[in-house]
Symmetry: C2
């Protein structure tokens, strides 16, 4: 089976999992559950649950708690998109060609749908205790999820990003790294660390997975910043960086194009060499990470 | 010690607990943590954590996991107020004479502060696993918290309430009971059930606590609806219910004043007789419940 066939099957599997988790009878609040489903279904790449499962495969692989946490992390990712898209943050009407939740259901419902999804994520993760033989391991996975999703992770990164933008506060290298590390990398760290924990990894190996995931998240985000510049150049025919002063600062404007390209390579090499150092079934994860970092869009 | 002295000491204890839980170094996202602290400190009655602890006292009492869950449930209550007050829901500038979070920090920060608080609640609850000797019991408490806070509880009730209001959808008796049961009672159920679970109650007793808490929540809310009418009568000098058609429907407009008063009594009696049926130290809880239902504002 080729990598792309494998990836498609995994995306399909996660979509089915999400559908089954969200097939619940919510009675009179069904309209909100409908908005929650709309927010989760659609065109997501399901990167975080797929990274989680592939990380578990480096260790003992299949664990009964995995589906609960795979669904939970995607629900958290979904809630963050719903709230980010709202008028008071990014005010986006479309995401990947599909109307955003507030554009379809209104701002009030989007706010509550995001809250509902975040709660439902923890409810889903907590249901893993029904299927576990090792509640301490499951508790460790839950602690990682909450830590990396919140003020010390994704919410913290989002807060600094939004705060700089709303206040025209210039980004510094320190702030940009904080944003990339927290807004993007933290949930990737959660995915891979939880995969490792549930797969039965040692504490040392979970720590190594955190480092690999952090490097992947940062490389992914710098690559994104590079693609923005290349995109601008191709679309506008202007020299790269010429209108940097008018734009939001990025890794490229703060560190320069050459340093950005070097750092993608450096972080990628770091992540790949950590993954290489593990036993287990690592072929898919290596290819996934390579595809993330060399992606064209 | 009088009931009111006891209550004041308990409020003070919860305030200290919340301060210590929120005394964390969040680095660059400190401004958001500041908005989160603002949302939690202030003039809260701390009803839910106090009910939780008092419920534990009906059983084995002091449990090492209690402070984590007491803080967590108050953080969840706080997040729900922050989001409820936002312009797209109730658009309230003041709550009990104090500026609301969005009025002080802006809408964007209020949205993220609510998200941060909800996540932090689960992070705080999950930290109970560090101090527990019984991870299965702790997991049961966590499952109750997530269930009662989310789409099958508080968020669900809030959704139906907001949906009816925004769409000028008339309230029916069924919808109003759903709203009172979920928006108000669900988190009180969580508080008392978690207290019972952590105190070592049997499943049967946890179920009885759920029934008592549900009755308390509904009685509390009907009493609120009655006070609204009495307030209107005293302020405006109009006959009770005369302007009901211009107002939002309440328990009083839908069921009538006499039935509302009877039902407060019926739910209260039910709650008190369940609590009476337990052993343990129940004096404070009985007085607290009585004070909730006979309160004047």
């Amino acid at each position: 089976m080729s990598f792309h066939e494998d990836l498609s099957l995994r995306v399909e599997k996660v979509n089915k999992l999400l559908e089954s988790v969200m097939k619940v009878d919510t009675g009179l609040s069904e309209y909100l559950m409908e908005a929650m489903r709309y927010s989760v279904y659609g065109t997501g790449k399901r990167l975080r649950p797929i990274l989680m499962e592939a990380s578990a495969e480096l260790f003992r692989g299949d664990a009964p708690e995995l589906p609960y946490f795979m669904a939970a992390i995607e629900l958290i990712h979904s809630y963050s998109l719903v709230h980010d898209d709202m008028p008071c943050i990014d005010n986006d009407e479309y995401r990947r060609g599909r109307k955003t939740t507030h554009a379809v259901y209104g701002e009030t419902t989007a706010l509550l749908a995001g809250d509902g999804l975040l709660n439902f994520a923890y409810e889903t993760a907590a249901a893993a205790f029904n299927d576990t033989k090792d509640p301490v391991k499951t508790a460790n996975a839950l602690k990682i999820l909450a830590r990396k999703a919140g003020i010390f992770g994704m919410v913290g990164g989002q807060a600094v990003d939004v705060h700089c933008e709303k206040n025209n506060d210039p980004l510094t290298q320190e702030k940009l790294l904080y944003i990339h590390e927290n807004k993007t990398a933290a949930l990737i760290e959660a995915a891979m660390m939880i995969g490792a924990v549930l797969g039965g990894a040692s504490q040392t190996d979970v720590k190594k997975m955190e480092e690999a995931a952090s490097a992947i998240g940062i490389a992914f985000q710098i690559r994104d910043d590079i693609l923005d510049v290349v995109g601008t150049f191709e679309e506008l025919g202007k020299p790269i960086g010429s209108d940097a002063d008018n734009d939001k600062d990025t890794y490229v404007t703060l560190f320069g194009f050459d340093k950005a390209k070097e750092d993608v390579q450096m972080y990628s090499d770091k992540a790949l060499s950590i993954i290489e150092s593990f036993g287990g079934d690592k072929e898919f994860l290596l290819k996934l990470v390579e595809s993330l970092i060399s992606r064209n869009k």
